[in-house]
Symmetry: none
């Protein structure tokens, strides 16, 4: 029994029973209380559990649903609203999409238009669009694994060299007074530049994120041609 096995076992016990006492763990695993305590401290640092006086309990901190799950939520309603957004589409347009799962609802409507060119900083959208055999360009720059986005100085430079007809954006928060904002500084900057460079900008966003305000302002809604709440 080494450190790793012991900690794995402790985690099993804690997760299956909701919590465990140091004294019990010590007795059942045949290690001193001191060792157990050190284990719990390590595991708490890694966010695996929460330490309390006398032992440890499960860590039920906030967790995020994976992206594929979020896409399944409210499918029907979102489809209808994406249809409304699709009314801004025309043949031959150069279109920018930012990084967002919400925008994926728009993709089916691209099929009916000819000679579109898509630019995006989302690798997920890149793949989906490519599978539809629509030419797609990705901004260059630093890859962020969490959102599947490309951002940073180079992505900004890339965008400044392009003038899309329309930008479809999604963001994290929209305050009551019309302030569109994001919690990621780099992605907020991408959005700002996309709006600057594009003739038209349309915001799509999830109603659930309404009314809040994140650290980095993207723009005010009066700069947008349309705001569609899914």
């Amino acid at each position: 029994m080494n450190l790793n096995n012991r900690q794995k076992k402790i985690l099993q016990i804690v997760n299956s029973t909701g919590g465990a006492k140091v004294s019990d763990l010590s007795k059942s695993l045949y290690f001193s209380g001191m060792t157990i305590r050190r284990d719990l401290q390590m595991m708490e640092n890694e966010g695996l559990l929460k330490r309390v006086h006398g032992g440890a309990i499960v860590n039920d901190s906030d967790f995020q649903y994976p992206i594929w799950y979020r896409m399944e939520i409210n499918k029907e309603q979102k489809k209808k609203l994406a249809q409304r957004a699709a009314k801004h589409l025309r043949d031959g347009q150069v279109i920018f999409f930012n990084t967002s799962s919400t925008l994926a609802y728009l993709l089916p409507y691209l099929q009916q238009y000819k000679n579109l060119q898509i630019i995006t900083n989302s690798v997920h959208l890149l793949f989906m669009i490519s599978k539809m055999h629509i030419p797609c360009f990705l901004t260059g720059g630093r890859y962020n694994e969490v959102e599947g986005s490309i951002s940073g100085r180079q992505a900004e430079a890339f965008l400044r060299g392009i003038n899309p007809d329309i930008a479809f954006l999604s963001c994290e928060a929209l305050s009551p007074d019309g302030c569109v904002s994001n919690s990621n500084e780099d992605l907020a900057e991408i959005d700002r530049i996309a709006i600057e460079q594009s003739k038209t900008a349309v915001l799509l966003m999830d109603q659930s994120k309404l009314g809040e305000r994140c650290t980095y302002t993207v723009c005010h809604t009066d700069r947008l041609a349309d705001v569609i709440l899914l």
Copy 2:
């Protein structure tokens, strides 16, 4: 019993039992603890297992090499040659990879270096490298679904703005007189620029493609620091 057989056996034991102690492996394989320890270190660097105090356990990290890589991993020759290519690696390097599955053999060796920065025009390599938690930049530009590559005018401009310490390239053909060539014009141009911009360039390629010559010349081998035939 040579190094490769021994490591294969160690991996079997670890994978079948979930873990093994150095002292036990030493006794059952009749090798000194020191040798076992060196084996484990090597195998950990390649991501095949996880070392813990006293021994090793199965690698349950979130990063897994793709199946085709793990299936090939025991082909000693490729492993050895990738190892030779890895000798060009140093801490803190800025490295370019072009679009090629061959280069994936090098990835395990990246883990042992600190502060690397990778630039590539391959989305497949981008994903693998990101999963290893190494900062990775993608060139901007047109996406080509077939090879999973980014190329075109913007990718070229992106590359010209960067000066990597070393470029690892793979290509489609290498003629007997040392002409490195490619059948895709855009990707050949990317390679040319990468060589131009990099302090050092190393070619890795599959022996099967040896002796031929494609439409677009990339460079001559005397421009390369090393040519490694897998």
